[in-house]
Symmetry: C4
Subunit: 271 residues, 4 copies
């Protein structure tokens, strides 16, 4: 019994066996198909023609994923840990909308949250390389979280002030019907999206808007600068992991091929 459980665990959670690799590949194809079905079902003309088929498909996929979720829970050694991990929560959220749609019609379109499950794809592809790059990126982003938080909070304060200023200047007659809506406009402007659904009409409003645009255009440099500096450091650190197998010194340049202390050839990590 336990033996079978261990075997299943290797197939479902690991990718180092051929069976595990095939399982992950099949899973991703099924996820893709289910996301695509939910998307196409939302197109009016297709819904009218194939609505019944999509309905059956949706329940089929949901039952399949429910079964998979149950098996995952059953085989995992640390059930709580899996259930509350990122992928565990995503797996649960991927099946809930269909059941919820029995109570609240329309929510089943949230099924596309299944797309998050596609992130497993990095595990299926040539593992070491992509996971390495992904973790390098994630590391750099995690390390900048505080700087980015300081930046985002300051920008939000600036946005609130620009928004309420424009509400006072332009007023409801020019589309700025409330401060929350003006703040929405300020976000659209400072992020340089610029829908144009609300735009300033008075000369003073256009002057303030110009200042908001210049601000948004200029401060994009800040998060970029923060992240770039971190990625540069992460990239260097990564290369430093080329450690010499002879003398164990690990402070080599990015383009070093021989240990600078003892001259032994360096084992290059997969780049």
């Amino acid at each position: 019994m336990t033996d079978r459980k261990t075997r299943w665990r290797r197939v479902i959670f690991a990718t180092d066996t051929q069976a595990g690799h095939r399982f992950d590949l099949a899973l991703i194809l099924v996820i893709l198909a289910s996301v695509l079905a939910a998307m196409l079902d939302s197109v009016e003309s297709l819904h009218q023609q194939y609505g019944r088929l999509f309905y059956l498909l949706e329940w089929g996929f949901t039952l399949l994923f429910t079964l998979e979720y149950a098996v995952r829970l059953w085989v995992s050694e640390h059930r709580r840990a899996y259930a509350f991990s990122f992928y565990g929560l995503v797996d649960l959220l991927s099946i809930l909308p269909t059941y919820l749609s029995l109570l609240f019609p329309g929510t089943h379109y949230l099924l596309t949250i299944r797309a998050l499950r596609l992130l497993r794809i990095f595990r299926v592809m040539k593992l070491a390389k992509f996971m390495g790059e992904a973790s390098q990126l994630t590391q750099a982003l995690v390390r900048t979280r505080r700087k980015i938080a300081v930046f985002m909070f300051s920008v939000l304060v600036v946005i609130i002030i620009f928004g309420s200023l424009m509400y006072v200047i332009e007023g409801p007659q020019n589309g700025f019907t409330s401060i929350p809506r003006s703040i929405y406009w300020a976000i659209v402007t400072i992020t340089t999206v610029g829908y144009g659904d609300i735009s300033p009409q008075t000369p003073l409003g256009q002057l303030i808007a110009s200042l908001a645009m210049m601000t948004g255009y200029g401060i994009i440099a800040v998060p970029t600068g923060i992240v770039t500096a971190e990625i540069s450091v992460a990239r260097t650190r990564w290369n430093r992991e080329k450690s010499c197998s002879a003398c164990h010194c690990d402070d080599h340049d990015a383009d070093a091929r021989y240990c600078k202390r003892c001259g032994a050839e360096l084992l290059t990590p997969s780049e």
Copy 2:
């Protein structure tokens, strides 16, 4: 008497005591509530239903903040310095709009300038870390002020020329009713916001507009480059402040854990 003043000063201006920490936390919650009230009051439907409540809340908050401002002035050692500091001015501006609204109706929406007071939040949160990151960022931005000024001024000259060129080419019949308005269009275009409230109609105008867009798209690289270079340097400098307590040498790499000269362990500054 003076003793009580000192005690109050520690509570209001410092955050190293529990009372001071609690005071700041409470203050931020009250500020948030007052900003939220001003925002919601501007929504027409809410204003009609709860207008009276919002009016009372606004005066309540304003009197509270006026009291706080008075106490701050009373307890601070250097009154002039506080009154003309960034936070001192913000504290004053946060109470003025309500009094002004007695004379000029509508200005009380400027109360959202209180949002600026929220920047105190960095002081309440885990101090050392966030303040460190914030000051690192501020330092880097201060050091780039001259380069950014040169850049912004040059961009402004380019914008004026593009704007008046388009006024001559497109003319009032296509929405470019005056040079100031055309300059507004040029800012909307070069910052890549692109509302679309004014857009070129003639082929020649579209050609010039294309040039303006390419310019805006290309030169965003300049402030980004400036800030990134500074942040990289600031980051390095910060790490260099890891100085060895044994031999006082302070030229260590970002990832050094031991002094490279004497091998003593380095005290890592909170990152």
Copy 3:
């Protein structure tokens, strides 16, 4: 016979002879003319006046390019290699649309794919310098392909989720008529393009849209950081190729003029 073939090959494929240089220059002018003709032919007023001329020109250029393609195939040593190379395929695609337009009218506007042939221009201009810069850039981009792929895939998943969320919230009555169309909106928003052809109308939709914009505004930092770090490295590496002709060490700084080991003067590569 073979002799003539070799001579032709040098003229057509190489640029180190005067004849080869002239041939490439003439070719680029003819390509430019043919692209321009296809463009102008699409303008309704010009088509009505000069339609016949454009038709003749198009067939003239196509026959000329067909002849050129045949000669290239004839003279090249490795015919398969040329036919399946990037430029070989572009050369073929540049003549197909005209022939196809006999079967499917309208497709001949795809002739502008000939613009891709213009990339040969880098070969004609001062060779070493531009090719060096271009290959430096290409190298850096190739080396970041995996990081960019990880980033783009993650962004796509985020876009799908934002898109279907907005479909559920805003619904068909506000322009979000299907999930694919909502995903199109999400792409327009997250890339900060912001046409405004579809824009959120409900307060909740505007809140979610604001989050999408902030996301798009913030994560632009990631590809920029990745590419910047790579270009910095590529730039350093390039400079390192200054190798000393005396002791063959090649680890010199960007501004080194003498070998740091033996003091011999360094041959600077054209920058």
Copy 4:
């Protein structure tokens, strides 16, 4: 006579005397006033009220600048060099539109080209610092000109292809009335400006447009990376100009305070 010429030359072209400094300051104020007058004249309501005043002001400024140009030509040692220098041409272009407007009405709004003369402002402000920063920036940009050219040309080719593809797919009935206009749309899209005056209507067109947006969003990283790498290098080089006055070695780190060879204190250049 020559003596007077030399004195005038120092006043007009140099800024190291008090008279020269004052002259430049006065000049900039007059330029600002003249640009402002041209701008305000273009506002319909102001033109109707003060049209006569603006007309007189314009001729006044033009005659003044003509006189200044004549004096500059008269006093300069190398007349041809001045006349064909950047500022010489700008000075000429700043007076031509008024005279041209006698022949072609409307062209006098091009007077705002005078704004270019405002770039002289960097000379008036604390000289060394701003000129240093400006020249550092200019240097970095000049050094990247070839990489940027390669990038811009490649982007242009991509834009032409996206444009003609959309012309074939969407066609005149959806606003893509000709290939040049479709190329204008492609530029609006790839630079992420997104006016929304032309936007794809068919599903296939929206798919292609999405690809164009992702392209534009992604490749902004390239010029940013190029410029950032150059500015980093320029910044380092600048710091390297800290040369030791004792042993004349000039290869010091950015944060060096003592010469690393002889230990003499370094003279820090104004940062």
